[in-house]
């Protein structure tokens, strides 16, 4: 009896694995045959996206892709990932040269992918594209590295200082405009039972926030040098080091004086956005995706006002501009159609349907505060320098930990960060000598 069962199981496995093998090789043959073979009638673009299922962007995207397929006769094979998954897949797949044609990217990938040599130079195609004037100079600059355009933007957002108006009115204060205004609110928590504002201290968000506060003093985390390479120059320039010190002093003061929850040291965007959306904190620097929280947290999100990010009184306004590029992979076999699709993403129609609040196009916007009020800030937008950022953003996080957790002095931290950034640039071969 037992023997029969085992024998049957064995047969079953064999059959199953054979079937699986058959199915597997069959499908991969099919794919390699269809992948942009010019003799083959069917033109295919392999597209990887990172949208949220069920969100407007996805609904509009699916519709627009269908339309694109009908108009051009190109078949679009779209698959969805999260950015983390997509990033890791690209890094893995690039080694084997087995990549899709067109992918959604983050600005952080520009330097990295360019230096790895896996994205296509789109400069010529871009210059021939009739719709290119709809993009502002800042947007085009964000797509450019080494004077080459490597991406077509599909989404652009800036950060703003969001405030719960009810909280601010109840506390009887003005919306803080400067660092000094923020730091003056030492008794806010005591009076109102919640913290005035918050900081992200881990993940990419933390580095983006730090970048803004540095930019308010015109500091760059890595500046372009004459030889086309990059360097953090703080230690070469006493004035810059002093300003960087002030930024870290600001972080330290925010926590020391109880303006920010001391628990913030392990927070990433998951916590900070959540705290703001649920009304646990009164104000926060974030992006217009929080509009989505109006429906999930209607009680706490109905009073949000949008203002400029507080800046030091001896500095100026600045904000982080996140301009997301579509990359065409260098190993793609169907770059022409991939470029068609990329520009379709950036077309007025598609942008209005799927990215109305966060379009890189100057001619697409809505009347809501999430669009208008944010766009008003985009002139002061800054971006990361186009270098390999993995080591640099890590160093920025570590610097915050040094100030907020290890009790390092702001000045020593600024010096440490300067060295750490240059060490990372040197590792990736981008350090100016």
């Amino acid at each position: 009896m037992k023997k029969k069962v085992v024998a049957a199981l064995m047969c079953l496995t064999m059959a199953m694995s054979l079937a699986a093998c058959g199915g597997g090789s069959g499908s991969s043959e099919g794919e390699s045959a269809s992948k942009g073979d010019s003799k083959n009638e069917e033109r295919v673009v392999e597209l990887w996206t990172c949208w949220t299922d069920g969100a407007d962007t996805q609904i509009a995207g699916t519709e627009q892709i269908k339309k694109f397929e009908e108009e051009t006769g190109v078949k679009v094979n779209q698959t969805n990932f999260t950015y983390d998954m997509l990033h890791e897949k690209i890094l893995t797949a690039a080694a084997g040269g087995n990549v899709p044609d067109l992918i959604w990217g983050l600005p952080e990938y520009v330097g990295e992918f360019y230096n790895m040599g896996i994205v296509e130079d789109l400069t010529d195609r871009f210059n021939e594209w009739e719709d290119k004037d709809a993009l502002s100079e800042a947007v085009v600059k964000a797509m450019t590295i080494d004077d080459k355009i490597v991406g077509i933007p599909y989404e652009m957002t800036v950060r703003a200082y969001l405030t719960h108006e009810k909280d601010i009115t109840a506390a009887g204060i003005e919306v803080p405009k400067t660092w000094e205004d923020l730091l003056a609110q030492t008794d806010y928590k005591e009076k109102n039972g919640k913290y005035l504002t918050e900081l992200a201290c881990t993940g990419v968000r933390s580095a983006q926030e730090l970048l803004v506060y540095l930019a308010q003093y015109d500091l760059e985390i890595a500046s372009a040098q004459d030889d086309g390479k990059y360097k953090n120059t703080w230690k070469d320039n006493k004035d810059e080091l002093e300003k960087a010190t002030k930024v870290f002093q600001f972080y330290k003061d925010l926590v020391d004086q109880g303006i920010i929850d001391p628990n913030c040291k392990n927070w990433g965007w998951e916590e900070t956005d959540e705290n703001f959306a649920t009304g646990i904190t009164s104000t926060y620097v974030s992006g217009n995706w929080l509009a989505e929280r109006e429906s999930s947290n209607p009680d706490t999100m109905d009073d949000v006002a949008v203002s400029a990010i507080p800046y030091p009184s001896d500095g100026h306004e600045a904000t982080y501009m996140e301009c997301k590029p579509l990359f065409i992979m260098a190993d793609s076999k169907n770059k022409d159609d991939a470029f068609e699709l990329a520009t379709a993403f950036c077309s007025k129609e598609w942008q209005e349907a799927g990215f109305a609040d966060r379009s890189p196009r100057s001619d697409v916007s809505t009347d809501s505060k999430w669009s208008k009020d944010f766009q008003a800030l985009s002139d002061t937008g800054i971006t990361f320098p186009p270098v390999t950022l993995g080591g640099i953003t890590q160093a920025m996080q570590d610097a915050m930990a040094k100030v907020l957790q290890e009790g390092e002095t702001p000045e020593a931290t600024a010096e440490w960060l300067c060295d750490a950034v240059n060490a990372s640039l040197s590792d990736s071969g981008e350090l100016s000598e």
Binding site: K2, K3, V6, L9, M10, L12, T13, M16, S17, A20, C21, G23, G24, S25, S27, S28, E29, E31, S32, W48, C50, W51, T52, D53, G54, N77, T79, N80, F81, T82, Y83, M85, E88, K89, L91, T92, A93, A95, G96, N98, P100, L106, W269, E270, D273, E274, A277, T278, G279, I280, G287, W289, E292, R293, S295, S296, N297, P298, D299, T300
Partner: protein, 280 residues
């Protein structure tokens, strides 16, 4: 009298401690289930609550209908079952060799090789494995996942089986051999029936390992057609917002089938106990 009182006390201790352990074990799962039943406006609030004001199946509907989890469940089942059966067959064979011929050089070397294979962090294996799969032309197929999952559970399954075979007296086999059984017959007729509890726990391990694996699942597979459950669940974690309702509903959907499998297999653990177990 004393004996009886002792027994009552021991029973109480047993129940109390089991309730304690069970509560800790099951609470996170309950939290998942509750969250999955909460509407969007209740799921993430400043004051967490175990009560739901307006329970909804919205999240489950989204997961099963809109996102197409049924296909992912099917994929996960197929991959896990094949990987499980395949690795059991291999592990029973290798485990037997490891247990009975442990003095042979070849066996010692294989044992070493299996152990070594466990010691490289998976993160570092991703790129080389990807390249192998690509060369074999099995990316984007069930085969790549089945091969990977099988390979990574073979060592533990083998060790588990071999350590069980260690406890089966040689005399049993010798008797069978005298009766004229060959090796295959001995294993199927004498040893395997004895090892049912071990077989089940080892097989369950192989199955669940494949069911819950995440990294290979998303590196090897790029199309919806072959996507398995865990990578699909992670898609609810967007770039700026997390769809907690979908994530929790997806997790519940992933956990429930394996729970039923476990419930069903319990019988076989009990079987050993009921029959008063093996007598050497």
């Amino acid at each position: 009298m004393l004996n009886k009182r002792n027994r009552v006390i021991s029973k109480i201790v047993t129940y109390v401690s089991l309730v304690f352990f069970s509560a800790i074990c099951i609470f996170p799962f309950l939290w998942m289930l509750l969250s999955a039943l909460k509407p969007k406006t209740e799921i993430r609030t400043a004051t967490p609550s175990l009560l739901i004001h307006a329970p909804t199946l919205e999240n489950f509907k989204r997961v099963l209908v809109d996102v197409g989890f049924l296909q992912y469940i099917k994929n996960s089942f197929f991959v896990s079952i094949v990987a499980c059966v395949l690795s059991m067959i291999i592990a029973v064979m290798a485990g037997y060799a490891l247990s009975r011929y442990y003095k042979m050089k070849l066996v010692k070397t294989s044992n070493l090789a299996m152990m070594l294979s466990q010691m490289i962090p998976g993160v570092l294996l991703l790129v080389p494995l990807y390249l192998i799969m690509q060369k074999m032309q099995i990316l984007e197929s069930y085969t790549s996942l089945i091969l990977a999952y099988t390979t990574f559970v073979i060592p533990l399954c083998t060790f588990m089986m071999s350590s069980f075979f260690d406890t089966v007296p040689l005399a049993l086999e010798e008797a069978a051999e005298i009766d004229g059984c060959n090796k295959a017959q001995t294993i199927f007729k004498i040893i395997l029936p004895l090892s049912l509890p071990s077989l089940v726990s080892t097989g369950l391990y192989a199955f669940i390992n494949a069911w819950n694996e995440f990294m290979f699942g998303y590196i090897f597979i790029s199309t919806d057609k072959y996507r398995t459950l865990t990578p699909a669940i992670m898609l609810f974690k967007g770039v700026n917002t997390v769809d907690w309702g979908g994530l929790m509903a997806g997790s519940v959907v992933a956990v429930i089938p394996v729970t039923f499998i476990f419930l069903f297999l319990q019988r076989y653990f009990l079987a050993g106990l009921m029959s008063g177990s093996v007598k050497g």
